[in-house]
Amino acid sequence: MPLLETRSVGVALGDVQVLWNASITVEPGEIVCLLGPNGSGKSTLMNSVSRLNRLVSGEIWFDGTAVHSLPPHKVPQLGVSHVLERHRLFPFMTVYENLLIGAGSVTDPAILKQRFERVYTLFPRLKERERQVANSMSGGEQQMCAIGRGLMSDPKLLMVDEPFIGLSPKFREEVTKTIQQLNRDGIAILMIEQNVRQALALSHRSYILKAGQIALTGRSADIAKSPQLEEIFFARKSGATTSVSPASAAH
């Protein structure tokens, strides 16, 4: 049984439908990537799992629970953690407070200590900045803090929306390693990434969205070789001569 399954999900933002018939699965232990041009519905699909938008059709199941009938604040309790696009830390709180809120309903000091230690082991820099106010840190540090905050609830599935955006190459590498490490620790990952080549290299499977629908899916290694890939990102026949790679075009 998949850990996460969306079945024919349709989403409307306001009165406008922006996602149709999206069915994806994430198996335990997988890294799955959502790819696609800007405005193709990647974040909309991920947000629908956190119940942040309005479903017009379809079902969402996580670990045997019907997510589609839950209010948004009940979703994290199932073991889903969502690191929103552009980190979305609580800007006027300290790193410590941000992480503490990430732990959700956990109040047992022993468990909290364990969770903090895990995050501080992954990101020693956060330990140093524990008392610093979130918006006074660099973009990379804030992204680390956001991922750390997402781990504080000890999730089964970590959903990360564009973790590399605005990061320096050094931080990119660090975040990539962290995601792989978390995956080895048994956490399933669903991520959104603009850099197609990097995302396909990192993930096991991928879904490529275009104009609110899933256009292509399969093993990431296969997709990387697929001629359809360029077609989706360039909206022209594959094989057309161009010096721009899909990776850089996606920016």
């Binding site: 956190s50 942040l52 209010p71 948004p72 604040h73 009940k74 979703v75 994290p76 309790q77 953690s81 969502h82 929103l84 979305r88 830390l89 609580f90 800007p91 006027f92 709180m93 407070e97 503490l100 809120i101 990430g102 959700g104 309903s105 109040t107 905050r149 609830s153």
Partner: protein, 288 residues
Amino acid sequence: MTAELLLQLLVSGLGMGFIFALIAIGLALIYGVMNVVNFAHGEFLMISMYASVFAFTLGGLDPVVTLPFVAVAMFGFGVAVYYLLMKRVLGGAMHSQIFATFGLMVFLQAAAQFTFGADYYSINHSWLGGTVRIGGVTLPMPQIVAAVGAILCTACLYLLVFRTRVGRSLRAVSQDRVAALTMGIDADRMNALAWGLAAACIGVAGSLLSNFYYVFPRVGAVFVLVAYVTVALGGFGSIGGALAAGVAIGVLQVFSGFFMTSTLKFVPVFALYLLIVLFRPTGLLGKQ
């Protein structure tokens, strides 16, 4: 002009300032959590004052005694206003939220006028009679109690918001509602809590005021206009800013009332407000 007189003015200004601050903090709390300006805030004050005055005239109970009950009842009233009215217009356009609280203001004022008439009511021979002399400063007892009560209430609210778990959740919702939802925080309950706490603060302020201020259906307008200026001056949504600005305004209006004429005492307050927002549109402690 003696130093004693200046001190006298300063102390009574501070006392009034803490009441202004308490009223403004409620407004800042609701704005911070929900981005909604409660135009019926003054009418919440009016209700609290009527409750205190009638508890005294009908039941013989001093506002000092009824204060906790008024505060708790107002908490319930604030929560009810959220669930019965505000929650329904939350997803709507900005102007529907403005009209909702504005409509509530008109309704509550008219309801008070209909029920109690336009007469002024006040508490005579309160338990807190007389004056107190402290180091050359003479102050009426009700105002001392009001100032101390307002400081205590503000301190409690501060501890709740900045030192407790539920306060952290409240701040999380005010700083990033969507992120708070993904952390498992029930934003809807936090909205209700903000309305409840704001109304409870007003309940305390109304009880304390009723000992030395008369109540009539439009009494809210007197205080709430100052409260809006306080919140805007302190920085929208900032509790600390509302406190600082409230105290500053309290002192300023007492001094200007003394040196100019009492009918013009708020002129320098509004002038100061215009001057400050001209250079700092987000207020003194507002987030840029």
